[in-house]
């Protein structure tokens, strides 16, 4: 809708947390940020990554929901759980390969990034993308993102699970898709020993 797409480029993230602050300002979940913010290999470096929900074409969170509480709208937005239905079972939190859904314990409800539905549904840009100073979170037209060195992709492989999404990840130009296997990122024992010896 409106010709804009969301692009996430973790390599541009400077860790300023503007997106978290902006997200908390929202009236629908004031004080709770729906941005997922991670440090990458925090022991060794200071690089960080802020990212939003990827809005999968076949959302795993909704497929595992036993209460039919998570819905994907016609415009491709996967919404937060419906308050009357959510039973706070954490299935979606555990199932999402991106780790997006957040269980709000005081409300006993799962909430997640809905790409600022109140704004994007009327043609405005999401809060996080408007404040991101390095445009690691960018909500722009495809021809604008084409000027970047990285290439957007919306295909992910998690082991054998293939996921296509609405939000794009900026990947190296030679990569067609982003492939991850959990086993590759498990902490190995020799690495553990090496760091403790220091």
């Amino acid at each position: 809708m409106f010709g804009y797409e969301f692009y996430v480029d973790p390599s541009r993230c400077i860790g300023c947390r503007s997106c978290l602050q902006a997200c908390e300002e929202c009236e629908t979940h004031r004080g709770n940020s729906m941005i997922n913010f991670d440090f990458i290999e925090r022991r060794e470096r200071i690089s960080s990554a802020a990212y939003v929900c990827w809005h999968c074409d076949e959302p795993t969170c909704a497929q595992v929901c036993p209460a039919d509480a998570i819905k994907k709208g016609e415009d491709g937005i996967v919404h937060s759980s419906l308050k009357p239905r959510c039973i706070a079972c954490n299935n979606c939190v555990l199932a999402c390969p991106f780790g997006i859904p957040k269980m709000m314990e005081p409300e006993q409800q799962m909430m997640k990034c809905d790409m600022c539905y109140d704004r994007t549904s009327v043609g405005k840009r999401p809060m996080c993308a408007t404040v991101c100073p390095s445009q690691a979170l960018a909500y722009v037209r495809p021809e604008q993102i084409a000027a970047r060195r990285e290439k957007p992709t919306n295909t992910f492989y998690f082991g054998n699970q293939k996921i296509t999404t609405k939000v794009y990840m900026m990947a190296p130009a030679e990569r067609e898709a982003v492939a991850l296997d959990v086993v590759d990122y498990m902490r190995e024992e020799k690495h553990e020993l090496a760091t403790t010896r220091e």
């Binding site: 497929q63 039919d68 819905k71 994907k72």
Partner: protein
């Protein structure tokens, strides 16, 4: 209804509880209102149809058909015949010296053939033990809810003639 579905389609619960909001099949208030209005319109038209039919209703005409000669069957005897068409089986019973009664042989429950029981002096349906009075065909016992249709008989000279059918 599993036989209606394609073998390779998604399981039913995935369709009924679809992830995609567009696939949900809730009945909206407007749909219900439409259904109610159309149904009452249909019932209105149906009532008009019944009214028109009853205005143009013609009393059916029955032929006069000789059934038996007087004295052909003994008192307590039975004769089977068809009236008014070849498909309508009827039973005639001579209940007295000059008394003949006749009914449709089709039980009003499930259309089994009723027969006359001389011992208990009534018409009996063997299928579900439905008993009918020999006087007027009324139900005495069993599942039938309506009496047997009565064949009106007249005596003309030496003949017993069927002239009319009186629904029970």
């Amino acid at each position: 209804m599993s036989w209606l579905r394609r073998a390779n389609s998604e399981p039913l619960w995935k369709e009924e509880f679809s992830v995609h909001a567009a696939d949900e099949r809730y009945v909206t208030r407007r749909q219900l209102t439409k259904f109610l209005v159309l149904t009452s319109f249909g019932m209105f038209v149906g009532n008009i149809w019944i009214l028109v039919r009853s205005l143009f209703y013609k009393t059916p005409w029955y032929p006069q058909q000789p059934v038996a000669r007087l004295g052909e069957i003994p008192v307590g005897g039975v004769k089977l015949f068809t009236y008014p068409t070849k498909e309508d089986q009827c039973i005639m019973v001579r209940t007295g010296e000059n008394e003949y009664v006749s009914y449709s042989q089709k039980c009003t429950h499930l259309s089994c053939a009723v027969y006359y029981s001389q011992a208990s002096n009534r018409l009996e349906c063997p299928c579900h033990q439905g008993f009918f009075s020999i006087e007027d065909g009324a139900v005495l016992q069993g599942p039938p809810s309506r009496p047997l249709p009565r064949i009106v008989l007249e005596t003309r000279g030496e003949q017993v003639v069927a002239v009319d059918v009186k629904a029970g």
